[in-house]
Point group: C2
Chain length 345, copies 2
């Protein structure tokens, strides 16, 4: 078979504001690959099916002069993300042709085809429940794990406590809303469009509002005080929560959208001690190991049965990655943003 | 005996910047008291000996329109603080004339003489070790308890970890430095004058610098990463620590000087999750009960033996309270600021 084009999404320039497709990221088609003859060196040839587009990708695109010690994408090389791929050929005894693999974060997955050394973090997907493969990068992948593991490890509450969460329609937020309702909390949730608000209402959240139309501070003043806050945002919104904190508030921080594109200051440091606040920040890959077995036992089943709800928005074509990344930063996506790179077979 | 003057420090006007004596606080001598005949109504007549002037007092002097839900001093009434007093007369069987009592926070102690209902938080001081009574509002009082209880409850570390603390010459800071050294940590500490720096060095801290002359960020970049941070400041200094955080940093927040007078923003919310940071904010009176017995068993002994070091700066005269409060906010005091209201007898 003749070599075929192997398109790639490259990291082209660090971002200071929102990441612009064609500027900060570029789609490059200069490389080819011969699927039959490319040397595997003991590894695996993967055809990428789905790629994840997550808010946190932006934080690996920051100015390295300002952001020392922060892992960044390498300029001129493919962006690293998570994805689901299918094995075309394998020289690794663990994987065989036809296997589906979830490759996590560290893999340079933004190509159509990758020769993968199989030495990095990955999970062989059995998918006995026969849910769509794309979900394994969403509600059944890292975003779902962020929700599940973060909740199990850090959420402290009494039944009936008031819980607040932002970006509640996303794959992390929506899963957390459902875990919180299952645990008997009163859930206040915000999202950025009518359709998202409707979706979060359908999950059983008690108070849901569009933060673009209604002031978060006013809602919290009325519906608070807040006992538990799942923080994706930081800055002014975290200040609003601190101002409406119950004594002993717990904050679980797993994102900081306010810091990525337009750093937004937080002023209410004083309230951290005045209200006996505890704050847990975490990266899912640091904490998830002890929870993964339970996660893969419970979550795909809950999805298949319809018990665990989610939304995803699949965009066809690797060349559209840059635009989807921009949209995710702007909150324009409706549901978990996924790039379908190739068909499921 | 004829009525005598009973001077009072009144809360006169909320502060927006540093609290100005004569403006935000005033010393008033319009009241008198007859020590022999004043009705006790089942309570106690106390002669106040020492009053504590602490940084946190400023946060009870904020604009009530901006700071809803925050306990503030009452305008036109005596400021509430902590102090040591001696019982002159008592109708309460728990206390007898000559007893020394530590009255905590809630008491309107800024008078020479107070009729005290004895229903508020207080501790009868035995002082078997015969240490100066003034220390019972400093290293052997709430500031020492803040250090001791906060450290016991929240400090998580491995031997040899790098620990950073600001305002290290104060009664909280200096006690924490000594606890950290006793626990085998490498201690980086900052203070605001040469004399303070010398004192903190004498406590065994490994790296001590004057933050007015040396940039905190540069010191932390050189001496970090930081595993544990005791936070009295917030704002830009907390940002500097987050930027130099080891993965898994723990921050213990028991003050926020940067927020009191000139709110200073914090921008690095993102690093809370990127570095798996845990933050514990606390008010000592919320957590201290289980630790108090050990505290009073250990600390006065350690002071009497010379093992636990401290500095205090005693100013004579209740009329000087306002100026000392201002000085404490500016960091001009050398050691724990105490007002001696009357002689020890």
């Amino acid at each position: 078979m003749a070599p075929i084009k192997n398109g790639r999404v490259l990291y082209n320039e660090f971002a200071t504001g929102f990441p612009i497709p064609g500027k900060n990221t570029v789609y490059d088609t200069s490389q080819t690959i011969d699927l039959d003859t490319v040397p595997l060196n003991g590894g695996v040839l993967l055809k990428v099916l789905y790629l994840s587009v997550d808010p946190y990708l932006r934080f690996k695109m920051r100015d390295p002069k300002v952001e020392k010690n922060i892992p960044q994408f390498k300029l001129g090389e493919p962006i690293e993300s998570s994805g689901v791929g299918i094995v075309l050929r394998s020289e690794n005894p663990v994987y065989k042709a036809g296997d589906h693999i979830y490759i996590i974060l560290c893999c340079r997955a933004h190509l159509h085809y990758i020769v993968w050394s199989a030495d990095k973090q990955s999970i062989l997907l059995e998918n006995k429940e026969n849910i769509p493969w794309s979900l394994y990068i969403g509600v059944a992948g890292l975003p779902g794990q962020t929700a599940y593991c973060g909740w199990k490890k850090f959420a402290k509450f009494n039944k009936g406590d008031t819980f607040f969460i932002t970006t509640a329609a996303g794959p992390v937020g929506a899963t957390v809303v459902q875990l919180a309702k299952a645990d008997g909390l009163r859930v206040i949730a915000s999202a950025g469009s009518k359709s998202k608000v409707d979706f979060v209402k359908s999950l059983g959240a008690d108070v849901v509002f569009n933060y673009k139309e209604t002031d978060t501070r006013e809602v919290l003043a009325k519906e608070g005080p807040i006992n538990l806050y799942w923080d994706h945002v930081g800055g002014n919104i975290t200040d609003a929560v601190l101002e409406n904190a119950a004594r002993g508030l717990t904050i679980i921080v797993c994102g900081s959208i306010s810091s990525y594109n337009n750093p937004s200051p937080m002023y209410r440091h004083n309230l951290i001690f005045e209200r006996d606040v505890t704050i847990y920040g975490f990266m899912v890959t640091t904490i998830f190991v002890p929870y993964l077995a339970d996660f893969y036992n419970e979550i795909p089943k809950a999805i298949a049965s319809g018990k665990l709800k989610y939304r995803e928005q699949i965009t066809q074509g690797l060349e559209n990655f840059g635009q989807v990344l921009f949209d995710v930063q702007k909150g324009l996506n409706e549901g978990k943003a996924v790039i379908q790179v190739a068909k499921d077979t």
